[in-house]
Amino acid sequence: MASDIALEISDWSVGYLDHPIVRDFSAIFAIGSVTSLIGGNGAGKSTLLKSIFGLNKHFSGKLVFEGKAVEGLSSAARLRSGIGIVPQGRCNFPQMSVHENLEMGAYLLPRAKASAAIESVTELFPMLRRKWRQLAGNLSGGEQQILETAMVLENSPRLLLLDEPSLGLSPRMQAEVFETVNSIRGKGVTVIMAEQNVFGSLMISDRAIVLELGRKFADGPARDVMHDPRIKAAFLGGEPVVETADI
């Protein structure tokens, strides 16, 4: 019987240079699930996402994707194996056209598959076809976000890591981003997302993991986490919670 586990992370410690940022993190992610990573600045959300794609230093722990250990693989090999990431901030080639960026998105694909992949993402995001010859650096923030997502989707990832996909976007564009994430999930893709719009993110997530100072602080169904008074107070603008134990 096929396993329904997409990703298993055990005792994961990662960071930069000699400094682990995320420590002893463990979690299992089901195929087709959407998980929100929640936490303040410096909690380790981006570090965790980047580490799954191999973009920072791995100190210890195991990373098993679809039953295979991938912690020793390069980023290129992880992309080939089905893991894709859209990092926070601008992650395109600003002095190249939209078309050239999409060509680079399909860098690992054979020529025939690359054309089909470009065709497929331009059907999903018709804006890209309209801006075909425009330099990526001249697109609006929302358009660049769409381009970057499209570049990763060209590789048909089965695990998609999204770091602040709605950062700096208008409310209308944010809604479009969440709609896109929902449609990607509909295709059986597992999504792990760090998002500053915690409410919007939890609304489309099955599960939420709260990070604090690089460690897992809470983990549960998104709806439960959304109604947790401590989370509401910290991230959703709810009333501050007075811990009776502290009184």
Binding site: L55, S74, G105, Y107
Partner: protein, 288 residues
């Protein structure tokens, strides 16, 4: 007539300088290393051609081709052994390392080749052609042909092939390059091979124009720096335009003034650029 001849000569030299400047700019664009060994790589191309033509009886054209290939192979070895180990932010390490490599190469060439300047006599030497009523040395015209073909080919590779687009992409955003599955160390190696091949080719095609000796790279290196600064760091079209400006400036200074003013003219242009447009002709942040 004199001015026209001087401008034409300047454009001829500028086209060949472009090979050196574009190579230096390409390596800087991708690795962010200022390659202080670039002058000695140019020298290697010139000495290789002198050896192939003078001792092994090669014709000029095959000798230039083989010299560029040999220098490219040498560049790749340098990259694998040294340059690829320089990390982002280790700018000074790159300078000191390439400076050291340049000195070692230069001394090795003096040891094996001798320091006496030599003339390279090819089948095209001491012949002129007529271009729009102006007399041009055939060997220079052939060198310009090499420069135009090489730079056009480079432009096509960088804009039309996945291989070349990856080089441009890596120079613009390293993290994005990783995200789309590039292996930066491989792509940067390609850029170094192309950059050193162009410098080697420049040395080879200029060998019959000047005398050849192991110290010939130093003055060219500083002209190449001027080209990269005037054109804008890492900007290839800028490097081509800057090369032509430098070639014409030094030709006019030498022809209308004195030969001793030639280098001064080049660096006056560079100083003016640093003073009034420090990001180069094409401004800040523009890349290959």
């Amino acid at each position: 007539m004199l001015v026209s001849t001087l401008i034409l000569n300047g454009l001829v030299m500028g086209a060949i300088y472009a090979l050196i400047g574009v190579g230096l700019s390409l390596i800087f664009g991708v690795l962010e290393i200022v390659n202080f060994a670039h002058g000695q790589i140019y020298t290697l191309g010139a000495l290789a051609l002198a050896l192939l033509v003078g001792h092994f009886g090669f014709g000029f054209l095959p000798a230039a081709f083989v010299s560029a290939l040999g220098v490219a192979a040498f560049g790749y070895i340098l990259y694998v052994l040294f340059l690829q180990h320089i990390r982002k932010g280790e700018f000074e390490r790159g300078i000191i390392l390439t400076l050291g490599i340049g000195i070692v190469v230069q001394n090795a060439l003096i040891y094996f080749y001798g320091a006496t300047p030599q003339i390279v006599d090819t089948e095209f030497s001491f012949r002129d052609i007529n271009f729009l009523g102006l007399r041009v040395e055939m060997i220079k015209a052939i060198a310009v042909g090499f420069a135009i073909v090489s730079i056009t080919a480079l432009h096509l590779v960088l804009t039309r092939t996945r291989f070349g687009m990856a080089i441009r992409a890596l120079s613009q955003n390293r993290e994005a390059a990783l995200v789309v599955g590039m292996r930066p160390e491989v792509v940067a190696g390609h850029a170094v091979v192309i950059g050193t091949a162009l410098a080697g080719l420049a040395g080879a095609v200029l060998a019959p124009v000047f005398t050849v000796h192991p110290l010939m790279g130093a003055p060219i290196l500083f002209k190449a720096f001027a080209i990269v600064i005037i054109g804008g760091l890492g900007h290839l079209p800028g490097a081509v335009v800057a090369s032509l400006i430098i070639g014409v400036s030094e030709s006019l200074a030498g022809g209308l003034g004195s030969a001793s003013l030639q280098d001064a003219a080049v660096f006056l242009v560079m100083i003016a650029m640093l003073q009034f447009r420090p990001m180069g002709l094409f401004g800040k942040g523009v890349r290959i």
